[in-house]
């Protein structure tokens, strides 16, 4: 168990170091996410109550697009020089490679989401503070489920020729339940509803995340094969 955690940590640090050197993923997903928020604000120009109605959808659309970019980028370094194959030569469980990627992508997307939320609060003139605790819980589990799927399909798409197109095509049908749950829960939390009213959506996000992480951990070895 300790050895597995050590391997995950080593691979996670490797991804952080690569990101620090390349400075590609975080910068691009932050800029892209902010642009989506800005464009949707410009298109709808919501005011007052409308902001609250639109904001959850706008945020999760921005998270979704930012995530797609991040997942694609995440496997760029692994494709160069067949590094993913290099990892497979090591006597480690392929599932650990998945968990390390999950952790790194979760961190990158979480940072981007913080920036996007901050930008959205300014443009939409909306304060997240009253429901901040539940908002963070919902975003955390929604993001976890999304990243769990994204990393898995990112690995699948990285073996295909039209990988940039393949990733959203493969991924979006699977993540529909996460986004429905996340948007519903976010809307309810931001409206100031009692936690009991959106708890079932949060439970859905948790269940989806757990199921997909376990499945991906077990199946990742086969995904990496030719």
């Amino acid at each position: 168990m300790m050895h597995s955690l050590e391997i995950i940590w080593i691979l996670f640090l490797k991804d952080l170091r690569l990101e620090w050197r390349r400075r590609e993923t975080l910068a691009s997903i932050c800029v892209f996410g902010i642009l989506v928020v800005f464009l949707l604000d410009f298109a709808f120009q919501p005011a007052g109550e409308e902001s609250l109605r639109l904001l959850p959808g706008v945020l999760w659309i921005a998270f979704a697009f930012a995530g797609i970019l991040g997942f694609n980028h995440s496997f760029v370094a692994e494709r160069e020089n067949a590094c993913l194959e290099g990892l497979r030569l090591a006597p480690i469980d392929a599932g650990l490679i998945y968990l390390a990627k999950l952790l790194a992508n979760f961190l990158f997307l979480a940072v981007a989401e913080a920036v996007i939320v901050f930008a959205a609060s300014l443009w939409y003139n909306f304060s997240f503070l009253p429901a901040f605790k539940w908002f963070v819980v919902i975003v955390a589990f929604g993001t976890l489920g999304y990243v769990a799927v994204g990393v898995m399909f990112g690995a699948v798409a990285s073996n295909t020729r039209m990988r940039e197109v393949m990733l959203p095509v493969l991924q979006f049908p699977v993540i529909v339940p996460i986004f429905i749950g996340a948007i519903e829960a976010t809307t309810s939390a931001l409206k100031g509803d009692a936690p009991g009213q959106f708890a079932s959506w949060v439970r859905l996000l948790i269940a989806f995340s757990v199921i997909f992480i376990v499945l991906s951990f077990l199946l990742f070895e086969y995904v990496l094969e030719e």
């Binding site: 050895h3 691979l11 370094a77 160069e80 030569l89």
Partner: protein
Amino acid sequence: MPPDTTHTEPALELRGISKYFGDLAALRGVTLRIARGESVLIYGPNGAGKTTLLRTLASLAQPTEGEIWMDGRRMDRYPATCKAKIGFVSHATFLYNDLTVRENLALAGRLFGLRGVEKRVERALELFMLRERAGFLVRNLSRGLQQRVTLARALLHDPDFLLLDEPFTGLDAESTANLENLLRKLPERGKALVFSTHRFAQGASMAQRLVALEKGRISYDGPLTQASLSSLRIEPEAAAIENKVRL
């Protein structure tokens, strides 16, 4: 599950391995046994299945049919134990362009669970004359230097079976000579060397045994002799190696 006692002699063994990519058969019923201390040249024309054979041995490709055994253990049942004994060098370097030479080696060492990784990395840097470039990002190295790092990475965990797919590709004359010298020493240390190369003369001068592949099947498996070369119709190259190989 205890090791199969009928295969106690340390060896890498393929039993009836076939590998299909859709309808295309890359390997057909390949059976092969490689002992420690052997130096085996895998030879054949393009598309004969050399790369697939080496990738299958390295467990990067799963056979469609057949089994691979190492030291009496089935490789698919004990992947970690078996992988720890294999070093693989391929066309690709397996190196992260944005990590330094030292970081790449240390990463590989840690993933292989080696003790004293730093010392081993320093030794490898010394052995492959990479100390001065240890802090360089891999992307800033020439192809020849990258190949040297790849070899250092493959040998870092002191594998019993070293598999090399076209290891001389991209190397200059000096690096080629250095690599040849290094590889010649491995069988003497009880390591098995299995390699493919297009440069037959060079490969034959380093190998004791030739495995010739044709359309995914083994067409010859035995010592390197004039007769074997003639039967394989590689006389033009045989003439070139007469002075190099003990025929």
